[in-house]
């Protein structure tokens, strides 16, 4: 066990998966010599050499498009898109090809591809560097969408994504890249994709959250628990698609109250899908409407004013209290 940041933990997964399997390779802008703009790919070029660590030209569609070809040719590419805001240039390849190849060929050819991308706010960079667009990918049948929240979950889920036979969009909350450390086992570890994690046990209300929202959620939950003597369950979603409906429905049945915290804009996001699931399977167990605490339906403001637009501890705390008091 070592205490690691998320960057170090993801890096550990890449090293171990490339050691374990010769067919794993990494490609993207600045991932080799520069070791990634966040240094996530540190040491890979030195250890594995150029054919398996590729500094590509600057073109997101071709990074994903050529990676699809590599996957069809028997490799397991891990493509890095430098920021998720640029990944939409590759959406044509993801929706049009990566997600469809298995269906298109009746199962003859799958695309075991991982597309890693840092997402979300918090690094004071330019426009297109702060968005949370997981819903766009999650809407596409054939893609899996994974968002880790901590170093250990990032490492274990990335290893699982690399071993997965289907394309996985792996969204890394860059605000959490170096914000805190966690014990990460030295031995290779995977987690099941499609399975949420109970980050905190509780019986009076359940909060669902993922990615960088987990930390303010936990802070708000602690405040409410302390102030009111209640116990609150925190579900760390980890996989957006396929959604772990079972864990969500069980939480409603056991607590009767649910709050969903998402960094993405309010409308048409995962929170809405979670509420639809509760509506379908646990409506009569609800003691209060399921509340969404999200960003607003505006284009993510530039970094000087972005912070106020993301859900913070205060908004989350209020939302939880309103739901408890309903």
């Amino acid at each position: 066990m070592a205490r690691m940041t998320m960057v170090q933990a993801i890096n550990l997964a890449l090293h171990q998966e490339m050691e374990r399997d010769d067919s794993v390779l990494v490609l993207g802008q600045d991932v080799g010599v520069n070791e990634g703009v966040f240094r996530v790919t540190a040491g890979l070029l030195a250890k594995f050499g150029e054919p398996r660590v590729i500094d590509t030209p600057l073109a997101e569609s071709a990074i994903v498009g050529t990676a699809i070809g590599m996957a069809l040719g028997g490799l397991r590419p891990v493509a890095e898109i430098q920021f998720s805001g640029f990944a939409l240039l590759a959406l044509g390849q993801l929706e049009g090809n990566a997600a469809r190849y298995r269906s298109r060929t009746c199962g003859q050819r799958g695309v075991p591809l991982v597309v890693r991308m840092p997402y979300g706010g918090g690094v004071r960079a330019l426009e297109h560097h702060s968005e949370s667009r997981e819903a766009i990918f999650a809407h596409v049948p054939g893609l899996k969408v994974v968002i880790p929240s901590t170093p250990r979950t990032a490492r274990a889920l990335l290893a699982a994504a690399i071993r997965d036979p289907d394309p996985v969009i792996f969204m890394e909350p860059k605000k959490s890249y170096r914000a805190f450390r966690e014990e990460v086992p030295e031995e290779p570890e995977t987690m099941e994709i499609g399975r949420a994690r109970i980050a905190r046990e509780g019986n009076d209300l359940a909060v669902v959250s993922w990615g960088a929202m987990l930390r303010p959620t936990l802070a708000a939950v602690e405040q409410v628990e302390e102030a009111r003597g209640v116990s609150i369950r925190v579900i760390d979603l980890l996989t957006i698609s396929p959604l772990d409906r079972e864990t969500l429905v069980r939480a409603v049945k056991e607590t009767g109250r649910m709050v969903v915290v998402q960094e993405a804009p309010l409308s048409f996001g995962p929170a809405s899908e979670i509420i639809a699931t509760v509506n379908d399977e646990a409506l009569l167990w609800l003691e209060a409407p399921v509340k969404r605490i999200a960003s607003w339906d505006v284009n993510t403001p530039y970094f000087a004013r972005e912070e106020a637009f993301f859900p913070g501890v205060e908004r989350i705390r209020k939302g939880i209290e309103e739901t408890l008091d309903f």
Binding site: G69, M70, L72, N97, R102, C106, G194
Partner: protein, 365 residues
């Protein structure tokens, strides 16, 4: 520092077999007789299948179909140049090449009949499915070529696309990546001069497609795309370069779309018969037959025998297609992921229950 020219470029053109069936002796690849006959037979089968499929579409027996009549040489010449371990990455007018790779015509009929099963090819055909998002297949070819080289294979990749596709970003990005990586890939543009109603001169201000290669640092060559020997030679040479580690090549096969874009298209809305006529005289089948006759490899009797053989092959394929029994209706649920998630299994049950005559929760065999 004086103003000076830092680079000059040339765009070569190649024709080996002219419209009268005459081969330029200096350029003759010296193919054995059986290969010349094979080229001709492959083109006749592709033409006959094309014409039959147009009728099948009009009769409602297949869906929308994109014919390749007049473009056969651009597809079979490259296919003849390919080795068995090479990959074919088609666009959608390469039936001639696909048949030469050993894909059954009945499978191709399934595709145009609206069944994904028409994309399931024999592994030894080493062929990816038809691409509908134009140019999106070109980066796949580059990645596939990279993978083959990384795994130490000697195989190269031949990727097809049309003149319209060369306006797509994926075309440019793919060529750029391939050249930087020196990927063992050959790009073949079937320039049939029409993207539905958009003529070549409205597609690009370049005089040729071939010259687009130069900007990416790879050779480009324009060939007479109605000359199967020229398309063969250009792709043979490009494959040799690819295998030698010298990187990709762009081959522009200048041809002409003699018929409609697809059966859903009416070309009389945007071009006249007068425009088409000169290209009918350049039919690749005519010149190839003239060559075979000159070499005493062909006569009316062999022609009749070949046409009868093609008809039989096509009849059998149509029969296989029309008697093909589709699998159970819920197979799409099996194919989204390697293992369907619980939600998809739940939806499968609802789907099956929604089918006319189906009992809730009971599968249909």
């Amino acid at each position: 520092m004086p103003r000076k020219i830092v680079q000059r470029f040339q765009v070569p053109f190649l024709q080996v077999l002219d419209e009268k069936g005459k081969v330029d002796p200096k350029l003759d690849p010296g193919l054995p007789d059986e290969d010349l006959v094979r080229l001709y037979e492959a083109m006749i089968l592709a033409r006959e299948a094309d014409q039959r499929m147009l009728r099948l579409q009009r009769q409602g027996r297949i869906g929308t179909f994109g014919p390749a009549t007049g473009q056969e040489a651009a597809s079979v010449g490259p296919a003849l140049a390919m080795g068995p371990r090479d990959w074919l990455v088609p666009s959608f007018r390469e039936m001639g090449a696909m048949l030469m790779r050993g894909i059954p015509l009945s499978t191709i009929l399934l595709y145009w009949g609206g069944w994904e099963e028409g994309n399931v090819f024999p592994e030894e055909a080493r062929t990816l499915p038809i691409a509908v998002i134009l140019a999106s297949q070109v980066p796949h070819a580059v990645g596939l070529a990279y993978a083959e080289r990384l795994r130490g294979e000697d195989a190269a990749v031949v990727a097809f696309f049309g003149d319209g596709s060369t306006s797509e970003g994926d075309f440019h990005e793919a060529l750029n990546f391939a050249a930087v990586w020196k990927a063992p890939v050959v790009f073949v543009c079937q320039n049939n001069q029409w993207a539905i109603s958009t003529p070549f001169e409205k597609q690009t201000a370049s005089e040729t497609i071939a010259q687009k290669a130069i900007a990416y640092g790879m050779p480009g060559i324009r060939v007479d795309g109605n000359d199967p020997l020229a398309t063969y030679v250009a792709v043979r040479d490009a494959l040799a370069r690819a295998r030698a580690g010298e990187g990709p090549t762009l081959v522009e096969a200048l041809t002409y779309r003699l018929m409609m874009h697809t059966t859903a298209d009416d070309p009389t809305r945007y071009r006249s018969d007068e425009q088409v006529k000169p290209w009918q005289r350049r039919d690749p089948l005519v010149r190839t037959r003239l060559l075979l006759e000159k070499r005493k490899l062909w006569d009316d009797e062999r022609e009749a025998e070949l046409r009868a053989r093609c008809k039989e092959t096509i009849d059998e394929a149509v029969k296989a297609y029309e008697t093909w029994k589709p699998p159970r209706p819920d197979v799409p649920f099996d194919r989204v992921y390697a293992t369907p998630p619980a939600e998809l299994e739940a939806q499968r049950k609802e789907f099956l229950a929604s089918l006319p005559g189906a009992d809730a929760g009971k599968g249909v065999d």
